[in-house]
Amino acid sequence: MLAVDPSIRIIANGHDAAWNEQVVAHAKDTVQTLSVHTLEGHHIPAEADPEAVCLEYMGFAANYGNHLRNLAAPMQKAGWTPRLAVTELSIFTNKQNLPNVDNLSEALYDAGIVNAAIRSKDWWRSSQTAP
């Protein structure tokens, strides 16, 4: 692809900091950005208190800037301009009696994530669809 169009920018599959370190070590000549999939909560039991779960998500969003810095650290360590692309994002309890992707909790959670992105300025990208 690059041979045909050198302007293509490549996002490699990212994961945790250890994985990202390996990608950075092996792909630094072709990759500009690492992806982040933020799908947290599948393990939360259905009998959990919904309000406590909601606050856990609000807390996770409040800490998201630190989470991104941790994931981007291998890029910075290698001298890259750190760039992350959040290509999957939602509350992921998959339980209708708990905060979920289709209720108001998700809107507040996403707002916290976007706010973290605003604070991080230019090294964060999103593939979430905008209206």
């Binding site: 309000e51 856990e56 909790s105 998700e106 507040l108 999103s126």
Partner: protein, 167 residues
């Protein structure tokens, strides 16, 4: 933030669903609407003095004293518009806020657009597609201050202000 793809428009990711031939927005679609239709591009410093909350981290992340009201502020490229986002994360109570805006007009006017519902579990359905929606009201910045704002519990509010006079 750069939006680089536009995928999964229906049923996940974009916050739209289609049931019985009716397309309706989930609350998160409205949240993205509030962010993607604002013109602020330059983040500005925010100093806050407010209550915090903590989480045990039993299911996700342990957090100590995170701001109960999450705030970011931006200005437009011409610095003639200020945009402020406030998320009241409190699941039960409204939060009275006094906002001081420095480095902008002394007097300004605009709109507060608030996304909320009866509870944080509220959702839209094909039968009630606007149960969770944006409600707007005029706001006024007087002598750089916006007093007695009361974001409801579990709400996202966008404030957009433009000057009423030269700085």
């Amino acid at each position: 933030m750069e939006i680089i793809t536009n995928s999964a428009l229906i049923n996940h990711s974009a916050g739209l669903s289609k049931q019985h031939g009716v397309v309706f927005p989930h609350p998160m679609w409205w949240a993205l609407y509030l962010y993607s239709t604002q013109i602020g591009v330059q983040p500005v410093e925010v100093a806050i003095d407010e209550p915090g909350f903590s989480c045990s981290g039993e299911w996700l992340t342990r957090v100590e004293n995170a701001p109960m009201v999450d705030i970011v502020a931006l200005t437009s490229t011409d610095h003639q518009t200020a945009v402020i986002f406030l998320t009241n994360r409190d699941p039960r109570d409204p939060m009275e806020i006094q906002l001081s805006v420095n480095g902008f007009a002394r007097q300004a006017a605009g709109t507060a657009s608030t996304l909320t519902g009866d509870t944080f579990m509220e959702k839209n359905t094909w039968e009630a597609p606007d149960r969770v929606r944006i409600r707007s009201q005029p706001i006024e910045l007087i002598e750089r201050e916006l007093r007695h704002m009361l974001p409801p519990p579990h709400s996202l509010t966008r404030l957009v202000l433009t000057p009423k006079e030269d700085r």
